[in-house]
């Protein structure tokens, strides 16, 4: 059974002091239901996740106590991707016809402070100052720049593009363009990454209504098919966040594995993709994820970025809604924001940020601690 997305809803990302994270989730859910022309009581199941804003399942208090099976999903930054994957499988199995996927969050300011114990690591790791995602990203791109000749200018170009795209996105957090020079000269956070090269924890909510593809046209005249979804955890030898040590041998990470799997599932290749949303927790991540997802060879990103090939009007537009850099990262909602953006693009509803050429295939990718990746291919 094929699976389609027939409704999308988003609560603006950024800071919304007057609404709790859960209220932002409910707002997004109502918008998605309205978009599909259905009611919450039509939902046969739901998957949802939030990292810091309460149990997603509690949304039933707000949306309605209909008795539906609501499963909470917690998978770090891959929470949204994992929720969608679960819903996809639930419908593909034939067990359900239609359901809701929702993610929301509301984080405090400043970098995430994860607890080592929750990941099976000794307390010493956090106490001595090693339990920081920002360090991992910085160390991974340092090695990558050394090995493949990527420069700080390319890092700045990623951020510049993100803020430029964010300025065209009414629900983005950061809607003011910031130039390359200002990005490079902003405060150094974790060398070689400066303040404007990092995304920040933020707030927001996203929801999707998914259903059996053969019934999709009951709900929308612009259904979007899920052509493939894959989730992978790390294998031995990959370089991951929150790792007190790494193996001497080196293999590609979970992104490489998930990407290969989803392309095989969809029966298409990276060259067929018209628009991509790639996890850009910071500038370096977008650069490395371009290669890990098969969109270029290692090192090619330098000239691709300097030539603007990943801008909205480029050969392969990446992070058209401004990505994590311009939207921040509410963990539970972030992966679903990518799906939302891809549906917007495939429907041709992107307005000022709409990619050219009538896109047919869209790709999304998230990466999270302690080494998981979820990828999805959507088709108009």
């Amino acid at each position: 059974m094929d699976v389609a997305i027939v409704g999308i809803g988003i609560h603006p990302f950024g800071r919304t002091p007057e609404r709790s994270g859960m209220q932002q989730g409910a707002y997004a859910a109502r918008a998605a239901l309205k978009d599909a022309g259905v009611d919450f009581k039509d939902m046969q199941f739901a998957y949802g996740g939030s990292h810091s804003a309460g149990s997603a399942g509690s949304l039933v208090n707000e949306l309605g106590l209909t008795g539906l099976p609501f499963t909470n999903v917690a998978n770090g930054c891959a929470t949204g991707g994992s929720s969608l994957m679960s819903a996809y499988n639930a419908i593909k199995s034939g067990e359900f016809d239609i359901g809701l996927v929702v993610g929301f969050d509301k984080h405090e300011r400043g970098a995430f402070n994860a607890d080592p114990k929750s990941l099976g690591i000794g307390a010493w790791y956090g106490e001595t100052g090693l339990m920081l995602t920002t360090q991992f990203f910085a160390m991974k791109i340092t090695k990558y720049m050394h090995d493949f000749g990527i420069t700080s200018r390319a890092l700045a170009k990623v951020a510049e593009k993100a803020f430029e795209n964010g300025a065209k996105n009414p629900h983005a957090w950061r809607q003011t363009p910031i130039g390359e020079e200002e990005i490079l000269s902003s405060m150094m956070v974790n060398d070689p990454l400066t303040k404007f090269m990092f995304c920040s924890p933020s707030e927001g909510g996203v929801a999707l209504v998914v259903c059996r593809a053969d019934r999709a046209r009951q709900y929308t005249d612009k259904p979007v098919l899920i052509r493939g979804a894959a989730l992978r955890s790390r294998r031995y030898g990959s370089f991951e966040v929150f790792a007190p040590s790494q193996a001497l041998e080196h293999i590609g990470g979970p992104t490489v594995d998930a990407s290969r799997s989803v392309f095989e599932m969809a029966g298409v290749g990276p060259g067929d993709i018209d628009v991509a949303q790639l996890q850009d927790t910071e500038s370096g991540a977008e650069i490395m994820h371009m290669a890990e997802n098969g969109f270029c060879e290692d090192g090619e990103q330098e000239h691709m970025l300097l030539n603007g090939e990943t801008r909205i009007d480029g050969r392969l537009p990446v992070n058209t809604d401004g990505g994590c850099l311009a939207n921040g990262e509410p963990i539970g909602a972030s992966g679903l924001r990518q799906i939302h953006e891809n549906v917007v693009q495939l429907r041709g509803e992107g307005g000022a940020r709409q990619v050219l050429g009538d896109p047919k295939l869209a790709y999304s990718h998230v990466y999270g601690a302690p080494g998981i990746s979820a990828v999805t291919i959507l088709q108009r």
Binding site: W124, Y125, E127, G129, D191, S245
Partner: protein, 164 residues
């Protein structure tokens, strides 16, 4: 607290009577010449740090404790420029916080181990440079006892590849 101050490294000595490791089983202790400890899989031969009861590479539970080499090469690095939130617990305040280097050091035949670096000037760090493990008092507890942690220090002088 700057890690590259001479008083903070193991060589300068500290009171081993009251000092204790910041984490159990991270390194040999007490010892005149401590080393990081790994578990070595007796089936596939791979090392894991910190030591654990199983091998993440081959799923075997046939592992033995072993010392890791004290010297290796810098695989990658960064500098932590802002003071981390809790669970960071160094005794520093926002006013006294000093940026610190962090890196992975490839210990031959062992693992690439992550640790703080004694150097926090990125212009003095280079991928591939020789590094050695040092042990130093990281924090003093309220009862006066010192918690010992490990860090990696660039090797200078004999044995260094510097200037080759």
């Amino acid at each position: 607290m700057s890690l590259d101050a001479p008083a903070t490294v193991y060589d300068s000595g500290f009171d081993t009577g009251t000092a204790r490791p910041i984490g159990d089983g991270l390194f040999t202790w007490p010892s005149d010449n401590p080393a990081l400890l790994c578990s070595r899989c007796q089936d596939c031969g791979r090392a894991t740090f910190p030591a654990q009861d199983s091998c993440p590479a081959c799923c075997s539970t046939n592992v033995k404790l072993e010392e890791l080499p004290r010297r290796g090469t810098l695989w990658t690095y960064t500098v932590q420029r802002f003071m981390p939130k809790t669970p960071y617990n160094s005794g520093e305040t926002q006013e006294t916080f000093q940026p610190y280097g962090v890196g992975y050091v490839e210990l031959p035949g062992g693992v690439r181990a992550e640790g703080r670096l004694t150097e926090n000037d990125p212009s003095k760090l280079e991928i591939g440079m020789d590094m050695e493990v040092v042990f130093y008092p990281f924090r003093r507890e309220e009862d006066g006892s010192e918690l010992i942690s490990f860090a990696f220090r660039p090797v200078t002088g004999p044995g260094s590849t510097e200037g080759r």
